[in-house]
Symmetry: C2
Subunit: 592 residues, 2 copies
Amino acid sequence: MRTHYCGDLNGSHDGQEVVLCGWVHRRRDHGGVIFVDLRDRDGLVQVVFDPDRAEIFARAEQVRSEFVLRVKGRVRPRPEGTVNPDLPTGEIEVLGLELEILNAAATPPIQLESHVADASEEVRLRYRYLDLRRPEMQARLRTRSQVSRVMRRFLDEHGFLDIETPILTKSTPEGARDYLVPSRTHPGEFFALPQSPQLFKQLLMMSGMDRYYQVARCFRDEDLRADRQPEFTQLDIEASFVDEETLMGLMESMIRTLFEEVNGETLPNPFPRMTYAEAMRRYGSDRPDLRVALELIDVADLMDGVDFKVFAGPAQDPEGRVAALRLPGGGSLTRKEIDGYTQFVGIYGAKGLAYIKVNEWSSKGREGLQSPILKFLPDATVEGIMARTGAEDGDLIFFGADKARVVNESIGALRVKLGEDRGLMAEGWHPLWVVDFPMFEHDPNADRWVALHHPFTAPKEEQLDSLSSDPGSCLSRAYDMVLNGTEVGGGSIRIHREAVQRQVFELLKISDEQAEERFGFLLQALKFGCPPHGGIAFGLDRLVMLMTGAQSIRDVMAFPKTQTAACLLTDAPSAVDEAQLKELALRLRQRG
Amino acid sequence: MRTHYCGDLNGSHDGQEVVLCGWVHRRRDHGGVIFVDLRDRDGLVQVVFDPDRAEIFARAEQVRSEFVLRVKGRVRPRPEGTVNPDLPTGEIEVLGLELEILNAAATPPIQLESHVADASEEVRLRYRYLDLRRPEMQARLRTRSQVSRVMRRFLDEHGFLDIETPILTKSTPEGARDYLVPSRTHPGEFFALPQSPQLFKQLLMMSGMDRYYQVARCFRDEDLRADRQPEFTQLDIEASFVDEETLMGLMESMIRTLFEEVNGETLPNPFPRMTYAEAMRRYGSDRPDLRVALELIDVADLMDGVDFKVFAGPAQDPEGRVAALRLPGGGSLTRKEIDGYTQFVGIYGAKGLAYIKVNEWSSKGREGLQSPILKFLPDATVEGIMARTGAEDGDLIFFGADKARVVNESIGALRVKLGEDRGLMAEGWHPLWVVDFPMFEHDPNADRWVALHHPFTAPKEEQLDSLSSDPGSCLSRAYDMVLNGTEVGGGSIRIHREAVQRQVFELLKISDEQAEERFGFLLQALKFGCPPHGGIAFGLDRLVMLMTGAQSIRDVMAFPKTQTAACLLTDAPSAVDEAQLKELALRLRQRG
């Protein structure tokens, strides 16, 4: 139906007859002539309809925004002075010789002319088919397609097989975030949609598939805080007979290839690595944003004798932390700004935000400092703080003192926020591997150990013996890939011995009976010759979001759901017939 | 952990030290030496453990089938007379120098040595991770991975974008085969899993995406007769501003590329085409297996005067059909064989199977025929039949006389069955496009029209006017790709005008209200400039099954379900906690 895409035309087509199909992006009448910007996936081109072709001109007069046209015309240079250097096709225009209106269009509720979305997100989602016509959204979905293509090609070339695992799978008793699917053939029983293909990919390794990948849809029925979606996509990878070095090396090479080919950007080789302990210590986070140079500095040892409970308490608490954060040039912060940051750290549970302004330390010493807490701090402590933070005149030092978790979360977040607010973000991509995670975290409420990653993560070989005696000190063979403060991938070497797997279940207080019910098939499979194996999963949505600079994962998905997990376009979820429920042996509960 | 895959070793590695990882396929002790066939994804190699390396030998003695080993060894030629020409690595063996037992294995319940599955399907599915270790299953999944890779590459090269559409989507009131998913955030409401991404891919065309594809998971909660699965995969494709010619040409080119690259087989170029009417007339089927040369021959006009109700009735019925099927050499069929075929056509509703054996027609004329029905047929009719079928001495002619649907289904199936039984199947691949399908079929029970494909299929442009006045005569712009009697793909040009879509809904007795509730978003979207578009979907499972010669689609899926839609490996579906149901506002119904 066409000879060219609109966006592909340029001076080299001068004089050619072309046939184009697309949408009316804009129509202008100027000097008795009709100008139509015709748009398709590849771009825009200006089509001109002259009044001396009366029939076509009359038809062009009917044309409105978003009408679908087929135009035959002749490419010609634009008249001098009307060349548009901002448009790839801006040197030429197409003189319309034939015009077919393929479809009319009502006035769209979304303005498509601007690159930026000016409609509310609700309108954008309801009329998604219009929102997706915006060049910005087209470019994002195109990039997404390219991202999965490049990663697939890389994995194909490295001997990975693309294998599909089930979507209708087993519901686990504690799978509180599982989406359930009632079975018609087994009334009263349910499938669950997978939160990840974790167990299936491990079974594929036990099946001798050696290297597996899948662009896998995953599901989580949770409150959609923090830009989550009920269904999301991960690039899921697993390999046999590999160790951390092999896997991490291969995966960072894949990500480098990806950024190189899709964005034309070069990532460091190799990626730096940091232990979990160091990341928490220096950045208060296991996914530190290395674009911000600010670091947390431990000062508990300087504080544990002070006569100020706010500092001395956490300094003496084995689970506490007292950390300083030096903000170069922060002396210029106003009282109001500091109050703002105090509120900000409150979100993370911090009860306050102590600070010292360093006005004239170099010349006046202690007198050159300004702080509500100064009076509680003896000279030695003050000197220790100044020496350790390296603070200079004009700086400001923030303090966090609380349970370590609160300090890490609040001051860690403050660190990034200051980076953003104060223009302290470095340019470019700053990837990082975080390694040597603890196997377990202690849940003080339930007084039990929980797996920091998941219960199939292998402990370090050399710590196998202390697994039961000192679980808190055990490190796992997990690794996370972090990029500019976002965890883009996470994985581990898995447990491949039944005895170790049972030991871990036991530590997690999963009884034999529960283990049998939930993971019986895994324990069974481990008996028949499971190879050493490990893998990783990348969050595709988040990766594409980073690569396209989108502000939300909803902007890199064709048909996302709202924060309440609804589809405004199709009006899902929705009520169903009583007859359907009956067939599924279900009844709706009355709501009080 | 390894230097080579087992299956990759050959004479060129003579003298090299290699490290291999894999499973013990077989262990034999012979002449005081231990032979282990070590297996990985790429094949088998023989490893030899000599008693003069005492420690390693002792370890090798512990080894059993399916143990996981890491072996360091030296490649050497096999001794003369022990070369195994059936094995790619059969010229060499590996002398074991180091041996690490990575994991032990219990005795597997499935025999992995033979290429053919000897265990029951139940055991194979329950221990799928063992069944998948069989080289036959490995090869099938590898081919599957390759198939989707080749098709993706083809589509990428032709400007199609890989775009993901939702799995949690809208339940439609009549979607009796929908899997439902209760929503926790919207209690009492349900998502449905998609039977296909049909509407989403049309919306993507309305979004200006121009060319879309997706390897899409689809779901259908139906009784699993005839080798179906509750979840299956289709290669889903849609394009804008295309007509049938463009799409069909591109798609057959893709399938040719696929068979060429994966199977090294050449398919015809172009694929032959046949109208639905001709396919039904000649083969009684809209997916004729062209490997069988037998054809149905209409003889109603010869029968409508005969004094034999079985023939005369259908011959005079406008909805009836009387067809002959000549079987060359069929004169040798025994009474018992003919009885068998009579039973066979009974499955399809045929009340009997008339026949004429052509013994000595050339010399004896009518006297040379043998048939229970001969006495009912006047000379002119007999001569007409013999002339029209071209039957010769030694042949047999079968007859079907009933409603056209019964004759088509029964004699159409008999045609293929005779082809199989009598060795009349041609070699190779016989693809075919079936085109010019009717828009509607009349459902005599409900006395209404139903869509032969789906209600979004466009009618032929030139028949738009007779759509309402004579729906039964309207042809659609649908096309099916048939390969050796299997429909591997089906698609159509879609309706892109709101008025036509509403007219079709009306013809299908979908009220405005129903249309609004089920397809309101589609009707709405059609208002805003929908481009002409069309597409196709290929059944990936079935295509891979054909290409690998597997007997069931279960054999080309990693983790299939049983005929009752259960997963024997993970024991899904299963009961869930009362608390989970409560959160979903659901209650189980008591079963009577």
